[in-house]
């Protein structure tokens, strides 16, 4: 291949602007969609990786089996005895039971239901590390905070959870009991986590006396040198026997933080994969479209092909010229598609952030950009191959006579 053939191909594209434009548009759409979707997928993966690094890969959870966010199953709980039992298992480092319940929240005449989390103040740092959250305003909860609460990020926003934004020092009512807001946590990036209310476990026990020592879920860390996944298996087996449950019928399950993330990532990847597949269909349509354009173009340029052959073009020269031309249609579509995909993903990211899903942040590694460009060039070239081969096999005598 040489630069001249590329130039020649480009000039041909330029000469048939409308048709080239429409063909380019068809591949542009697919590449835009693929680029935007993959940038979200990669952004998500990055987020999950950071999360795993921040929270630490030594963390494990015990939670209710079944669908739903941890702690939302009202019938499931782990007792103080369960926790004490698990605590003694070799390899368990820190362990803390978390209270978790939906409650009625009142603020400035408005009433809403959100989740309240009761945190053992002794284990506060461990909890914050596991959730990888930090206070951004005010202070943490501390020992003896009976009527104090720390709120999730979204409470500070106007017209989000409540009409009026909540500020430090404001009073809110949880199930009719007044709490003073002393702090806010940073944004986690999903609406559920960002609407949690954190109070001390003492306060929680006063608020829900029936729930004392009934923990919605348990968080723990593995000791250094202990494999979290092996520990999880051990705990599951021992706790099952302790609670006298049959294998496979236990109402809890032990999951390492990494597994939890992996499950989450798998779900995201599957959804993303399905969307990318749909986008692929439009690339197939573009493939057919490019092929069609090239066949038309070759019929129009039959005589030109004859002339080129007469002045010494071999079949392979003609083949290259038309494959490159089709590849360029793909590449131009790819360049525009990547640019548009960048814009679309950016807009999508802002939109997601505005709706509370700040964790849906697209990421654009250079490999994605180059990959999309290469892919679009290859799609174009492949689509151009059969038309180009037909062109290359034209007999010069016949092609020259063509009018």
């Amino acid at each position: 291949m040489n630069i001249y053939e590329i130039k020649y191909a480009l000039q041909n594209l330029g000469k048939r602007k409308l048709r080239s434009g429409l063909t380019i548009l068809s591949i542009l759409i697919g590449i835009t969609a693929i680029f935007a979707l993959l940038s979200f997928g990669i952004g998500m993966q990055n987020y999950v990786d950071t999360l795993a690094d921040e929270a630490g890969r030594d963390k494990l959870f015990i939670q209710a089996k079944g669908i739903g966010a941890p702690g939302t199953d009202e019938n499931f709980f782990l007792s103080k005895e369960d926790i004490d039992f698990v605590k003694k298992i070799k390899g368990v480092n820190e362990i803390v039971g978390m209270y978790f319940k939906a409650a009625e929240i009142r603020f400035s005449e408005q009433k809403r239901f959100y989740f309240v989390m009761g945190v053992d103040i002794d284990a506060l740092e461990f909890v914050e590390e596991t959730f990888s959250i930090e206070i951004i305003k005010g202070r943490q909860l501390k020992k003896g905070d009976i009527d104090k609460a720390v709120l999730g990020y979204n409470y500070q926003l106007e017209d989000n959870l409540f009409k009026k934004p909540i500020r430090l020092g404001d009073k809110i009512e949880i199930n009719g009991n007044k709490f003073e807001v002393v702090g806010f946590y940073e944004e986690i990036g999903n609406p559920q986590d960002d609407t949690n209310i954190y109070i001390s476990s003492q306060a929680f026990e006063q608020l829900f006396p029936d729930s004392k020592d009934k923990f919605g879920f348990v968080m723990m860390s593995a000791q250094k040198g202990v494999l979290p996944s092996e520990l999880a298996e051990k705990i599951e087996e021992r706790l099952r026997k302790f609670k006298d449950q049959e294998e496979g019928k236990e109402n809890f399950f032990v999951q390492t933080f990494e597994d939890a993330l992996a499950t989450f990532t798998t779900i995201i990847n599957v959804i993303n994969g399905v969307l990318v597949l749909i986008a692929f269909i439009s690339v197939i349509v573009a493939f057919v479209n490019i092929m069609n354009t090239m066949y038309t173009s070759i019929i129009e340029r039959t005589k030109e092909i004859g002339v080129m052959k007469a002045i010494g073009a071999r079949n392979s020269d003609i083949l290259i010229i038309f494959v490159v031309e089709a590849g360029l249609i793909g590449l131009v579509g790819g360049i525009l598609g990547v640019a548009l995909g960048y814009v679309v993903a950016g807009l999508g990211g802002s939109f997601a952030a505005a709706s509370g899903f700040a964790l849906l942040k697209p990421s654009y590694p250079i490999s994605l950009v180059l990959g999309c460009l290469l892919f679009s060039f290859l799609v174009g070239s492949a689509a151009g191959f059969f038309p180009a081969r037909r062109a290359s096999r034209l007999k010069p005598v016949d092609a020259l006579r063509y009018e």
Binding site: N2, E5, K15, K303, G312, P396, V397
Partner: protein, 231 residues
């Protein structure tokens, strides 16, 4: 006697049209020698175009043999023929047949691309040829921006790009007015005289054919008459 450049030996070309076989050439013999200026004449249906295709290595015969510089080329593959005609034969067509998307100079350089000539050399040679046909100020124009005569001059420059032994001009003045046509013909004559190029001129115009040293008359796929034109 000068050495033979293109020689057709008992050449037959048979086309199938449906169930009918058409014998376009019926045992044609023709010998064109180095630095000759030969005109080929014949009415339509005489097999003239078919003969030109074979002389130009654009096609191979059904039977008989075609020699280019004493090499038998009648059994060569299309891609081998392409290389040979690119190097040895410069085509000039009635319709000019320039590539519409390329500028004048790019058209002139095109045959060199297919021979793998380095870019620097292509540009140098291209400019020389453009100068030879006196189109320096039109070099960057597309064919559509050139007059018929100018286009044919670009085509002549293109035909000379790989410095071929033979210029095969198929009705080169057919689409030009008589004055421009005469210029083109003069140019070919000059190439023959000064550059010692072998010129093959295909025409149906008796007056034009007179410029050539020799005229071959074709009828029913055979040479029926050969005249020598004394200058």
């Amino acid at each position: 006697m000068k050495k033979s450049l293109i020689k057709l030996e008992k050449v037959w070309k048979v086309y199938r049209m449906g169930h009918v076989e058409v014998n376009a050439l019926q045992g044609l013999n023709l010998d064109i020698r180095e630095a000759e200026f030969v005109a080929i004449m014949g009415p339509s249906g005489s097999g003239k175009s078919t003969a030109v295709n074979l002389i130009g290595c654009l096609d191979v015969p059904t039977r008989g043999r075609v020699f280019l510089e004493e090499h038998d080329i009648s059994k060569l593959e299309e891609s081998e023929l392409a290389q040979i005609r690119g190097r040895k034969i410069g085509f000039i067509f009635q319709q000019f047949n320039l590539v519409p998307t390329l500028t004048a100079i790019e058209n002139v350089m095109l045959p060199m691309i297919f021979q793998g000539t380095p870019e620097e050399e292509r540009i140098k040679k291209g400019k020389e040829l453009i100068k030879l046909v006196e189109l320096q100020d039109r070099m960057e124009h597309k064919p559509s921006e050139l007059s018929g005569g100018q286009q044919q001059r670009v085509a002549i420059a293109r035909a000379l790009a790989n410095d071929p032994e033979v210029i095969l001009a198929d009705e080169p003045t057919g689409n030009l007015d008589s004055k421009t046509g005469a210029n083109v013909l003069d140019f070919l004559d000059e190439l023959h005289k000064k550059e010692k190029k072998t010129i093959i001129l295909v025409t149906h115009d008796q007056a034009l054919a007179k410029v050539a040293e020799r005229t071959e008359f074709l009828k029913d796929g055979k040479i029926v008459k050969t005249t020598s034109n004394r200058h």
